[in-house]
């Protein structure tokens, strides 16, 4: 469905990505794990057209997205929940959701989508008139996810959704991701919390300094001794 091939990204003289190949099939959760600076976020940002690609190709259902501007990639149904949530703090919760549906023109569809998001996250409904900046970290993450769902994404990409959240909320977030998956969403998840990510992932890639070093089924990687040692913090 979404296919990334031979992706290279340079920041100045630094090679952030050195030839990444990733494939995401429909209804899959695919996760990208790796240490800080391994290039996980760069991969997502390159797919969204937020950073320039020096080489490589991004295809979606056979269509070439490589050189499309971000707004057109969003229109194809590929959305990203950015790292650090990045809700629009001065806008109300409801306005944030409306902007999530910015590219949609069907006001009835937008309204029913909003209802669905509110059913999924009742806390957001309670606070729909509050400015997003006044929400707690967990609520902001729910809003960031809800905002991304407003467009009925074909591929939902999440960049470190559990970052900076209390352990209890981390559990909630992963439950939400599993729920979205069971509803038929296709998800590309970037996480530092490798254990939790691998537990729910169908397929996983391990990134190290801009290169893929390992890939396989999520459950297989969980058992892999190298992964255990490097990312799951388990002694041999």
């Amino acid at each position: 469905m979404l296919k990334v091939s031979d992706l290279h990204v340079h920041y100045g003289g630094i090679n952030a990505l050195r030839g990444i190949d990733i494939t995401i099939e429909e209804n899959q959760i695919v996760t990208l794990i790796g240490a800080n600076g391994a290039g996980k976020s760069s991969t997502l940002r390159a797919i969204m057209g937020l950073v320039e690609k020096s080489q490589g190709k991004i295809e979606y259902n056979g269509e070439d997205l490589t050189n499309l501007p971000t707004k057109d990639i969003v229109k194809k149904g590929i959305v990203m929940v950015p790292e650090g949530r990045r809700v629009f703090a001065d806008l109300t919760v409801e306005e944030n959701l409306i902007l999530g549906a910015y590219t949609r023109k069907d006001s009835n569809g937008i309204r029913s989508e909003m209802k669905r998001v509110y059913e999924m996250f009742p806390r957001l409904k309670e606070r729909s008139w509050q400015k997003a900046g006044t929400l707690s970290g967990g609520e902001q993450q729910m809003l960031a996810v809800g905002r991304a769902l407003m467009i009925q994404p074909k591929v939902l990409m999440m960049d470190e959704p559990s970052l900076g959240l209390a352990p209890l909320l981390v559990k909630d977030i992963f439950e939400i991701i599993s729920m979205l998956h069971s509803q038929g969403n296709t998800i590309l998840l970037v996480e530092q919390n490798a254990k939790k990510a691998l537990e729910i992932a169908d397929y996983a890639y391990v990134l190290e300094t801009g290169e893929l070093v390992l890939e396989g089924l999520g459950s297989d990687l969980l058992k892999d001794s190298k992964v255990q040692e490097a990312y799951l913090g388990e002694a041999k």
């Binding site: 937020l50 971000t70 707004k71 969003v74 806008l91 902007l99 905002r147």
Partner: protein, 297 residues
């Protein structure tokens, strides 16, 4: 000074404040989105007046249609200015685009001198506006009432646009976080164009009313109002629309009251704006309604 005199000055101050407010909005909106001080804004205001001048003198179109067309045309010129002078530099350091703004300002001024001529022209005021209204023994020209009224209507319209429409929301989102706004599928260039259109449109409306009130046209006439309205925007807290309106009124009323109460200081009316700016910046550097400046991550 009697009550009647006070009423007269108050009316004049509100009227001038309205004009400042209309022009200040353009500065503040552009700053809010691009973090750019559009130095050419005062010259766009000047263009709006001249376009109206030629529209009335050289076409047979009814004056009120000329007013509307000229405002729209000026809006489009503002939009074009962004495309030509600012957009290509968007990724450049902020100082580069600022210099481009100063260059654009000089260009428009000199364009005005070459094309419109340096000699002052008289604004052709439609007859309706020459009416004088007597109110409690004071005679006040009709335009003095029309200016705040038009300003109020435009402000209401703008507020509706900014708070209720999707484009307005996108504008607010964009002013805080470009990247996330683009992740919503927002066409950033389109929103910036709309911002420039609105700012320039309002400057033109202000300019036309300015022309009716102070009917002497010169290619450099945008410089001082431009500077003052920039000051108004800074006083109110640049980036904040309500602040710009507030700053405009403070400046307009203050200026007129200064002349009224201390006629000997009339020669210092322009200095007043700058002194006020310095005082407010010393007391509250972010302006009256400005927020703390947070650098974008």
């Amino acid at each position: 000074m009697g009550n009647q005199g006070l009423l007269q000055h108050l009316a004049n101050g509100i009227s001038l404040g309205s004009l400042y407010a209309l022009i200040a909005i353009g500065y503040t909106m552009v700053y809010g989105i691009l973090r750019l001080i559009n130095f050419a804004h005062g010259d766009i205001f000047m263009l709006g007046i001249y376009i109206t001048y030629y529209g009335i003198l050289f076409t047979s179109i009814p004056w009120w249609i000329v007013f509307i067309l000229a405002s729209v045309l000026t809006g489009l010129i503002g939009l074009l200015l962004e495309k030509v002078a600012y957009r290509p530099l968007r990724e450049s350091p902020r100082i580069t685009i600022l210099i481009s703004a100063i260059g654009a300002s000089f260009f428009l001024q000199n364009f005005g001198i070459v094309v419109f001529g340096g000699r002052p022209k008289a604004f052709p005021i439609p007859n309706v506006f020459n009416k004088v209204i007597k109110l409690g023994g004071v005679s006040i020209s009709l335009i003095t009432f029309i200016i705040p009224l038009v300003t109020l209507l435009l402000l209401l319209g703008l507020t509706y646009f900014i708070t209720k429409t999707k484009t307005g929301m996108a504008m607010r989102a964009l002013s805080k976080d470009y990247e996330t706004a683009s992740l919503m599928g927002i066409d950033i260039n389109r929103i910036i164009s709309i911002t420039f259109f609105i700012g320039s449109f309002l400057a033109a409306v202000g300019g036309i009313m300015w022309g009716i009130r102070y009917p002497q046209l010169m290619p450099l006439m945008g410089v001082m109002p431009g500077l003052k309205c920039f000051i108004a925007a800074v006083i109110g807290g640049i980036g904040n629309i309500t602040g710009a309106v507030l700053g405009g009124f403070i400046l307009g009323l203050g200026e007129i009251m200064l002349i009224a109460l201390l006629p000997k200081l009339t020669g210092y009316r322009d200095a007043f704006a700058f002194i006020l700016l310095i005082v407010i910046l010393l007391i509250k550097p972010t302006g009256l309604m400005g927020e703390k400046i947070t650098e974008k991550v």
